[in-house]
Amino acid sequence: MNGDTKWVRVTQCENIPLREGRSLTIDTCEIAIFNLGDRFFAIDSACPHKGGPLSEGIVSGTTVVCPLHAWKVDLNTGCVVGQASSIACVKTYPTRVRDGVVYVELLIERSTEPQKLICLNDSAPDSCAR
């Protein structure tokens, strides 16, 4: 994949309450950011099942439960856990905090087209459905 990674300043930490998520639209991506107290997680917000808003889910440990049909998504890997098919995944993005601001690392594709964001953290298996 060609392109540069960029740490994008997203929002003040306090805008995301503890053990909750909030969604943000960055360019064309809807990303859900979760505050787990000691760290933040960023994943694509649409549930691989029926596109439910993961940002509105209940956080359970390091997973989030989709509010529509209770599919459980691992915030580390983006993969669905539990009895449902484990090959369904969402993209995950690295995060960091500087001066009280959450940053998300995105890939800016270098091309003649307008800049596009692409999944960076491919820790998910290749069969990952998108």
């Binding site: 997203v10 805008n15 909750e20 960055i26 029926k50 800049q115």
Partner: protein, 803 residues
């Protein structure tokens, strides 16, 4: 002539021994002296009394009627001060002289007071008996600072009890690890972490020099010169056998009164049992040995000398809810041939260690998970050869039929270590007395009435043996917090827990899930009525934004229209809102309400403001609505004003949360146009009366509601309905609809506990409902003041990606 047996000591050991003696012939004329003024009670449960989990009367073992029934003369509040072995008399501190043929000394022990200056000051307590416990309860209270000197079993239980009473508690311990007699250094570390997680502070290696304060305890000073403030101090530094009477009777006394394997002292007419004795150089401070000794002594004293006491494997269990600690046997690794086998998981707070010596279990330490303690005790007792099991020592063997375990158990195996009840005794009781429930088994055999750790085995035995076994249906809430819900409600109440995360951290896995978090949120709200830390992250999205999430991520909005009665002005506002926010669908619901579907989250506060109506709670487990018919105002057939009654019922209960959604109905005649007979609560008007019905359903399941009560006035009908409402709120499991609840509990019991309950109980229910209602508010008021500033606001990234 009947011989007179005098028992000095009305505690657990003495009375348990008397119970055994009564099973033998010949009979004695019995006198029991007790220096406390209480009948025989379960001393090991005093910590539960201190923690508010049990009342003093709950721990009584034998009431006065038991003493009367067996013709026992009970001399309470009399301390036996002297004994004359030659003339066979005892002298009480009231001056009375009592003759005996046989004397049984069961004087137990007294708290050991270390050499600390100022221990006589006011505000210095010990924790040994019921009076001590009451004194502590009097002194304890929110904000009080307490110091507990001693980090053993008793000290820790006292500390937790005081903390539950609201005190700020610090445990001060001389050694470098807690419970060093029962745990190794690592296990003590796990225990310390767990205690600190509960909020009890722990100071190790502190040698207390003096109690500070002028006549009244104000803190302690340590030998290293440091100090700690306190409002009161509890000394729990160990116990000392009460041997003075033994000495006065001329018996051989070392640390305790020396007894042989037949429980005989050096005087053939004087016996001793319990914490005051020393057998084979060991003194015991735990309950199980006392019962074993009592049995042997009963045989010897009644002339049936034969059974011998061979000592007891020391086993200890900490009785603090949520802190599982168990230890048994000898866990020192120093003896040659000792193999320590360990398992630990710091994140879960689990630590297990077995010491295997010569292929057999020598000792065990369990912290954080004591579910396998029975298996280990059995291995210790029977010196099981573990060679073939070496790979599974710390994990349960492969799953087998649960009945098999109990089937394989020998009849002589002790199931209840506290009360010395064997498997054989339980089976015999089941067959002879027709026992079918655990409660009956407890009454009949005393099994599982001590520490309660054998409850599971007792259940299994009952299941296997009793033809009519009734399982007390106790399903755990979920894997994250493995307790049945009634138990959890009790824990939350007695331990005064006020946040979901706190409950998960202390009693669960720290994480929680979509099942237990909303359930715990509900329980806390129901118990504390808003006087708690409401954690929105533990609630479903509908309860964060007060609207019902739809498949496309938009929300539906249902304003409250009490009784389904609206007005032209209201309808006009609803129409305006629908147009202004381009609401894709406006629908009349099956509950006589109006649903605006497809509203964006960011629009919710504006929609609510424009509607100017309260939330209809159509998104939550709470009071949904009262469906009504037109009643008497217009209807030709109506005999009761159901519209007015329904509106009033809705007004009295709106904004409250319930274990599951709650739908109500009120109809003005038996034609039942608003379908009140299939509602959670229904009011059915008849000529001159109202029927109040509960537990109806017309959803996944159709069920005709049960009649709760028939009353004459509308006010009485409303009272009965609200009484049931609060009863359901307090006793149903989360996500249990009234129709499942009423079926599970039985309408007869529901009536007994509500409309037929004693006035005080009804007043209690009403009082708690009133308190909840006073604090309940329309959730849509949060449109102006959201719980979190970004609740309804779409967050914009601070930085744009330049195209």
């Amino acid at each position: 002539m009947t011989q007179r047996l005098v028992v000095v000591g009305n505690g657990m050991a003495g009375v348990a021994c008397v119970e055994q003696i009564l099973k033998h012939a010949p009979k004695f004329e019995l006198t029991i002296f007790g220096d406390e003024t209480h009948v025989n009670y379960n001393r090991i449960l005093l910590s539960s009394v201190l923690a508010g989990e049990k009342a003093a009367e709950d721990i009584v073992l034998n009431g006065r009627d038991w003493y009367e029934k067996h013709g026992i003369e009970l001399r309470l509040g009399v301390r036996v001060a002297d004994v004359d072995a030659e003339h066979k008399t005892v002298t009480g501190d009231d001056g009375s002289v009592t003759h005996f043929d046989k004397l049984l000394i069961a004087t137990g022990s007294t708290p050991l007071i270390p050499p600390i200056d100022g221990v006589k000051k006011d505000g210095v307590f010990v924790f040994r008996n019921l009076d001590d416990t009451r004194a502590l309860l009097d002194r304890a209270g929110p904000g009080k600072k307490a110091i507990v000197i001693g980090g053993g079993l008793l000290g820790l239980e006292a500390a937790r009890g005081l903390q539950v009473q609201g005190c700020d508690v610090t445990v001060v311990h001389l050694m470098d690890t807690l419970m060093e007699r029962q745990l190794d250094f690592a296990g003590g570390g796990y225990l310390k972490a767990k205690m600190e997680c509960l909020g009890v502070k722990v100071l190790l290696e502190r040698n207390t020099a003096a109690i500070l304060g002028n006549g009244k305890a104000e803190g302690v000073a340590f030998k290293d010169g440091s100090r700690l403030d306190a409002n009161f101090v509890v000394i729990a530094a160990g116990i000392r056998p009460n041997v003075e009477l033994g000495r006065k009777a001329g018996l051989q006394v070392n640390r305790g009164i020396v007894v042989n394997d037949y429980m005989e002292t050096s005087n053939p007419d004087i016996f001793a049992v319990g914490e005051c004795v020393e057998h084979n150089s060991a003194c015991y401070g735990l309950v199980a040995p006392l019962f074993e000794q009592g049995k042997v002594l009963a045989a010897t004293i009644t002339g049936n000398r034969g059974p011998v006491y061979g000592g007891t494997i020391q086993a200890a269990k900490l009785k603090i809810m949520g802190v599982d600690v168990f230890s048994a046997g000898d866990f020192s690794e120093k003896s040659p041939g000792s193999d320590p086998v360990r398992y630990e998981d710091p994140a879960l707070g689990i630590y297990k260690k077995l010491i295997v010596r010569d292929g057999k279990l020598a000792g065990v330490i369990l912290v954080g998970d004591t579910s396998e303690s029975h298996r280990y005790v059995e291995w210790l007792r029977s010196s099981t050869d573990l060679t073939t099991m070496r790979r599974q020592l710390l994990f349960p063997g492969p799953a087998t039929d649960s009945g098999l375990d109990v089937a394989e158990m020998a009849d002589s195996k002790v199931v209840c270590g506290c009360n010395g009840v064997t498997k054989g005794a339980i089976i015999q009781a089941v067959h002879e007395k027709g026992i079918s429930t655990l409660a009956q088994l407890k009454d009949c055999t005393r099994a599982s009435t001590g520490c309660g750790s054998c409850t599971e085995v007792c259940q299994q035995l009952l299941k296997a043996v009793s033809p009519e076994f009734q399982e007390e249906s106790k399903r755990s809430l979920c894997k994250c917090v493995p307790f049945p819900e009634d138990k959890l409600r009790e824990i939350l109440r007695s331990q005064r827990l006020r946040s979901v995360q706190e409950v998960l951290e202390i009693y669960g896995n720290g994480a929680g899930c979509e099942v237990c978090k909303p359930a715990l949120s509900y329980m806390l709200d129901m118990l504390w009525c808003g006087d708690h830390d409401e954690d929105r992250s533990a609630r479903f999205i509908n309860d964060r934004v007060h609207a019902n999430i739809q498949k496309d991520g938009t929300f539906s909005v249902v304003p409250r229209i009490r009784g389904g009665v609206t007005s032209a002005a209201e309808l006009r506002r609803i129409a305006d809102v629908a147009e202004k926010y381009k609401v894709p669908m406006v629908k009349i619901t099956g509950s006589q309400r109006i649903d605006l579907l497809g509203v964006k989250k960011a629009d919710l506060p504006k929609v609510w403001a424009d509607l100017g109506m309260p939330s209809g709670q159509a998104y939550t487990k709470g009071v949904r609505m009262v469906k009504t018919c037109v009643g008497t105002d217009f209807c030709r057939f109506g005999v009761q004003d159901s519209t007015k009654a329904g509106i009033e019922l809705e007004r009295r209960l709106e904004h409250l949360y319930t274990p599951h959604k709650l739908k109500m109905g009120a109809v003005g005649c038996p034609r039942n146009c608003a379908e009140a007979t299939v509602k959670d609560i229904g009011l059915i008007g008849q000529d001159g009366t109202w029927q109040v019905v509960v537990g109806g359903a017309a959803g996944k399941k159709v069920r005709k509601a049960d009649l709760l009560l028939t009353v004459e006035s509308t006010e009485e009908a409303l009272q009965a309905a609200t009484l049931f409402f609060q009863y359901y709120r307090e006793n149903a499991n989360y996500l249990e609809r009234t129709y499942d609840f009423v079926e599970r509990v039985g309408i007869a019991k529901v009536r007994r506990d509500t409309v037929y309950a004693p006035l005080a109980i009804q007043q209690g229910l009403r009082g708690r409902l009133r308190k909840s209602k006073q604090l309940a508010r329309d959730a849509w008021l949060e449109g102006d003041e959201p719980k979190h500033p970004t609740q309804f606001v779409q967050i914009e990234p601070l930085e744009k990606i330049e195209a």
